[in-house]
């Protein structure tokens, strides 16, 4: 690796120049596949020595090229994501793995493939429920994904290689959780913006390099003398995509964001893939059932009796309870990217859940552009005033 930086400095460097390491790896002969969503089982890429690279949008880049493929009133994250692809920003990619994690992902995949010319493109269908037959279908989808990856790389995805990759990614999950442990003290040892940069850096590196980076960051934070200041409140953010440090800095201007429950935060790292006899079963189970994005339909029970709304909320948001308790959260910001239907439908219910915990919360919407930062700050400040 060309850089001598380590720890947080290295994370900042990778975050600021995400494509640099990918280009180096490409020059060294690595194959690199882009993926736009946390639901793509990266273990399968790692096991075949393919580098996974999360294709992100850019809140500072006006969408121009994607206008010919997607309408304006559409998920701005996927619009800018496709826009960057059509502008060939990630020109090192050998292909893209898309997944039906939500309607915008699916619809964007349908135009992404014909408008680009990658050697590899694969679309994984994903069921909406966690029912047994849905899980079996999803496992079959992963097996099809395996076949296309094997054809693309010319290598066999053996159980041993996949098991090793699962362990490597599980280690990354443990390290990210360890990093979040460092936000438990008050003041936290690391800021939300710093963690966001680390997590986005992880999405730009091979998993083993990411793990080394994380170990360095954790050591760095443990030894730091410039500890973050204690601010007026400890916040939890909950939403779909929060992957820009400028947005996080707005949230943290007068508060400590100690937990980020988004796909730029802890969401993809909270659990671990179980190593099952058939590794694809463990992967299917983890990705369909354990990642708690709003895209998946869950409810308390289907016994045939009357619905129990409290049980329903518990099945959908119960994972937040220990976070609120253990991280001593003072307030929650439900951050919605405009036109994100799965999360938009959840807003009143997740607020109900926070109410049951006695936690103040607010819902703030933004359009995933730099222009949204100033109004976002106003809304956050207003919320902080109400809970101070």
């Amino acid at each position: 690796m060309s850089s001598k930086a380590s720890g947080l400095a290295r994370a900042r460097e990778v975050y600021s120049h995400r494509a640099q390491r990918a280009r180096e790896l490409k020059a060294e002969g690595s194959k690199i596949l882009g993926y736009p969503c946390a639901y793509v089982p990266l273990e399968m890429l790692t096991a075949l020595d393919v580098v996974p690279y999360r294709t992100c949008g850019d809140i500072r880049e006006p969408v121009t090229e994607a206008d010919r493929a997607l309408p304006g009133s559409f998920c701005p994250v996927m619009r800018t994501c496709l826009d960057c692809a059509l502008k060939n920003r990630d020109d090192f990619l050998d292909g893209v793995v898309a997944i039906h994690s939500c309607d915008p992902q699916e619809k964007t995949a349908r135009v992404w493939e014909p408008y680009t010319d990658y050697p590899y493109f694969h679309f994984i269908d994903m069921p909406g429920t966690v029912r047994p037959e849905a899980l079996a279908y999803f496992r079959g989808q992963l097996d099809d994904f395996r076949k296309t990856l094997e054809a693309f790389t010319g290598r066999e995805l053996s159980r041993q290689r996949l098991a090793a990759a699962i362990e490597c990614h599980n280690r990354q999950r443990r390290l990210v959780r360890e990093l979040y442990e460092l936000t438990r003290p008050s003041p936290p040892l690391v800021t939300g913006s710093e963690i966001l940069q680390v997590v986005k850096a992880l999405m730009s590196l091979p998993v083993a390099e990411g793990n080394d980076l994380l170990a360095g960051v954790i050591a760095d934070v443990g030894n730091r003398s410039d500890r973050p200041a204690r601010k007026s409140a400890r916040l939890l953010t909950w939403g779909s995509t929060l992957d820009d440090a400028d947005v996080m800095q707005v949230l943290e201007f007068n508060a400590n964001v100690v937990m980020d429950e988004s796909c730029g935060g802890i969401r993809a790292y909270r659990g671990e893939v179980k190593l099952t006899a058939d590794p694809l079963e463990g992967l299917a189970d983890y990705y369909l059932k354990e990642i708690t994005c709003a895209r998946t339909f869950r409810q308390g029970s289907l016994s045939g009796g009357a619905k129990d709304y409290a049980a329903d909320l518990q099945s959908r948001f119960g994972y937040l309870k220990s976070i609120v308790r253990d991280w001593q959260i003072d307030g929650a910001i439900m951050l919605l990217v405009r036109y994100c239907d799965p999360f938009a439908f959840e807003m009143p219910s997740v607020k109900d859940y926070f109410d049951t915990l006695g936690l103040p919360s607010t819902y703030i919407e933004y359009d995933y552009t730099a222009g949204a930062l100033a109004p976002l700050r106003t809304r956050v400040e207003a919320f902080l005033e109400t809970i101070s």
């Binding site: 619809k107 135009v111 079959g140 339909f297 239907d341 807003m347």
Partner: protein, 442 residues
């Protein structure tokens, strides 16, 4: 007077009228049945997957999607939209969903489960359970999940695979969809039996499935007749007649007879070269949801010689397949439902149109129904019916040199569709259609 004359420009099918009447009759009969104690289910349009089971179980079904359109057309929507807003639902969500959420909040929180007195068409009575569908968009199951705030009724979400075009042809792919579908329906039947406290009559289900398939086959054949020049049947007749096939509205034996009558009438028009409008100057395809509240807009276009000869992939019957050898009715239903999307994949794959289920059909329609242009209707609050339209527009131009006119609207906010502004764009678009007609001939 002028408006009256304009309304008669389209030569409507006589056989459409009893099919259209079935919609209101069925709805009102359902309401009466529910009021007399029959169980009611709120359902999403599910593309022939759950409906035949509910029908065979003699359960009354109401469709909040349709009710959203009724609320919009009767002016009842704004109060429910405001209520949904007050409940904390973002205003950019699907307009139909917001109407339902506002309605449910009013019914359950203010009126203790009673139908709101101001609700048009007798309202939607309290359901026994909700049947959502994962097909087409996230809203169609997240919306029903969100209703859990108000309804003490469980939600069943029907799974709906969405394969990629190339992936679909991998070995074993289709059968894995069928396998999931059949298992899913078996569990759904058990769930419904538990909810209503009686067993499914398998013979009745078998008969219902066969009728559904036959109704839709005849309905498909009617559209095939519309390939004729001049086209004998306008899109307005399609939209008026479709609920009996798409939602299985009313008695299916009766529906089959009425569609057969329609087939005969359309065939007779084809044989006698009777056109749906006075002079067919331009043949057009329409995508996707029509402006339900402003359908006379099409009469004004008909007066200019615009004949809408094919339309709305999302409402069309599946391309027929022979399922007579499939003995298990649940498997037959599954395969038929999957055919709604999958019926287009073989062609789409051969032509390398990777846009698949949503975009490819329009290429087929424009080619086979010999269209001169496409009228696209993107909807602000229905993104699933709009997302693919820019791609469709590009596809039609690149592959066929068929131009598109895009006119924005909405499913609930009527102000967003401006017929006058749209009509002002008609003449320039006719010039474009004329130009590309010459290009295609050269």
């Amino acid at each position: 007077m002028a408006a009256e004359q304009e309304k008669k420009v389209i030569n409507r099918l006589a056989s459409m009228k009893p099919l259209r009447a079935k919609v209101n009759e069925t709805y009102l009969r359902s309401l009466e049945a529910i009021q007399s104690g029959k169980p009611a289910v709120w359902s999403m349009l599910n593309f022939y997957y759950g409906d035949p089971i509910l029908k065979a179980m003699d359960i009354e079904v109401v469709y909040p999607e349709n009710y959203g359109a009724i609320a919009a057309a009767t002016g009842a929507a704004p109060q429910y939209l405001e209520r949904a807003d007050a409940e904390g639902f973002p205003s950019h969500l699907c307009g139909y969903s917001l109407v339902t959420l506002g309605y449910a909040a009013r019914m359950m929180k203010e009126l203790k489960g009673q139908v709101p007195p101001e609700a048009p068409f007798g309202g939607m009575p309290r359901p026994l359970f909700l049947m959502a569908s994962a097909a087409v968009c996230d809203a169609r199951y997240k919306w029903f999940q969100a209703l859990g705030r108000y309804m003490d009724a469980p939600v069943w979400t029907l799974e709906a695979p969405a394969p990629g075009v190339r992936e679909f042809f991998m070995e074993g792919y289709f059968e894995s969809m069928v396998e999931m579908g059949v298992k899913h329906l078996r569990d759904f039947v058990s769930f419904v039996e538990g909810m209503v406290g009686r067993k499914m009559d398998r013979d009745k289900l078998d008969h219902t499935a066969n009728l559904m398939i036959e109704v839709n086959r005849v309905w498909h054949e009617i559209s095939e007749l519309r390939k004729a020049r001049p086209c004998p049947m306008h899109s307005r007749d399609f939209w008026s007649a479709m609920p009996a096939a798409l939602f299985l509205a009313g008695d299916l034996e009766d529906s089959l007879r009425l569609y057969q009558d329609m087939y005969r009438e359309v065939k007779e028009r084809v044989d006698n070269r009777v056109c749906a409008i006075p002079e067919e100057k331009y043949r057009l395809v329409f995508a996707e949801l029509p402006p339900w509240h402003s359908l006379d807009f099409f009469d004004r276009l008909a007066a200019r010689g615009w004949n809408f000869v094919i339309e709305s992939f999302g409402y069309r019957p599946p391309i027929p397949i022979d399922l007579s050898g499939v003995t298990d009715p649940l498997e037959r239903i599954t395969r038929f439902s999957l055919q709604f999307f999958a019926g287009y994949y073989d062609d789409a794959s051969k032509q390398n149109v990777l846009g698949g289920a949503f975009a490819y059909p329009y290429l087929k329609y424009a080619r086979e129904w010999q269209c001169d242009g496409a009228l696209l209707h993107p909807l602000i609050s229905c993104r699933s019916a709009s997302t693919h339209l820019p791609y469709v527009s590009n596809l039609l131009m690149e592959e066929l040199k068929v131009p598109s006119l895009s006119i924005e609207g909405d499913i609930v906010d009527l102000r967003l569709f401006n017929p006058e502004e749209a009509l002002a764009r008609a003449e320039p678009f006719e010039q474009a259609m004329d130009h590309y007609r010459r290009v295609r001939r050269s």
